[in-house]
Symmetry: C2
Subunit: 205 residues, 2 copies
Amino acid sequence: MTTTLGVRAQQKEKTRRALIDAAFSQLSADKSFSSLSLREVSREAGIAPTSFYRHFSDMNELGLTMVDEAGLTLRQLMRQARERIASGGSVIQTSVATFMEFIENNSNVFRLLLRERSGTSAAFRSAVYRENQHFIAELSDYLCRANGTSLENARIEADALVTIVFNAGAEALDLDNEKRAELAIRTKKQLRLVAKGAMLLNRKS
Amino acid sequence: MTTTLGVRAQQKEKTRRALIDAAFSQLSADKSFSSLSLREVSREAGIAPTSFYRHFSDMNELGLTMVDEAGLTLRQLMRQARERIASGGSVIQTSVATFMEFIENNSNVFRLLLRERSGTSAAFRSAVYRENQHFIAELSDYLCRANGTSLENARIEADALVTIVFNAGAEALDLDNEKRAELAIRTKKQLRLVAKGAMLLNRKS
DNA sequence: AAAATCAGCGTACACTTGTAAGCTTAAATA
DNA sequence: TATTTAAGCTTACAAGTGTACGCTGATTTT
């Protein structure tokens, strides 16, 4: 059921979005979420500092909202990748390419996840952790079904794969296109390493 | 040649140390380097805020010094691990155990590296990157010698191994002892996955 | 039509921050 | 011994921060 919003609620939603967008747009290589101030964000969103509180009790609350949105964006991306794979692409090639595209097009979104994963707020850290687990769970399912691995082993493999890809993404942020291409090649080799190792160990047991 | 320091230079060195120690001791799960202020650090070190400038031109300069020290600590740790391995320990078991001990005993030092790796200062990021490359280079050498792998393949393998261990360390920070033990087991399995995969792929070529 | 709600505003306050300027005083140098 | 050097201090200031308080005016509810 989608409730039709009144004029007032619509406007409120709009400002809320403006705040979120303002915060995202202020993120950069040189500016992390924790270095944003309530006043800066409000200014960028075009409202008075004190009006901020009509939408979020805290910068923290805004931040958590942003992490959720970032996770959502990332999962949507995964779905796209799976579609491409289903229609005949190589798993590793497609996954890495998709991820790298994501980082190129949404670097600030990725930076948020990357930084808050080891940030100073436990709530943030566990929010990012949850998103990561989502990611791993979906990949585990896939591996289970595709390779007939036990779920436990698939979890371990998936975790390693995601770790490597995520890390490569982090590294890519500071590289130019040429170096990124090299990184992508190396990353694919590493993923194959893990996949081969998993195959081998699964046959044994 | 070790120059004997005059009384004055000795005192200066002492305060410099006090500043570095103060900064390290203020780091915690809830407080990152970038959230430290020059005044806080100076206060903790027992000097006036303006005296800070007699030692560092900047909080940035202090931070880079800290990253270097952290990297040094980590490399010392690696040497210990190699000694233990040389005297008959399992490579993977020993490495993971040593690393986990490091994180337990020096969590704030590790946190510094972890956070600044994706922080807002390019100088910091590349400093941490350098330390990481050191780490990987030493491991590559080891793998080369131990397994007769080509240096290129060893680099790729070492990179994957370090990524996985480093990531596990990051995860360990938020876990209790029980969960940490589980994590250690999982991490070892993942390292074996990579090692097996590398063996397999090296035989082929 | 009257009353209640509430998003957004302006003002205000108490803090913290980085850092400039100039002084003191003990150590180093000549 | 006389002079220079420099680590550390005090004072001072401008800039930025989070947020409390109370008002306004349009929308919503009664």
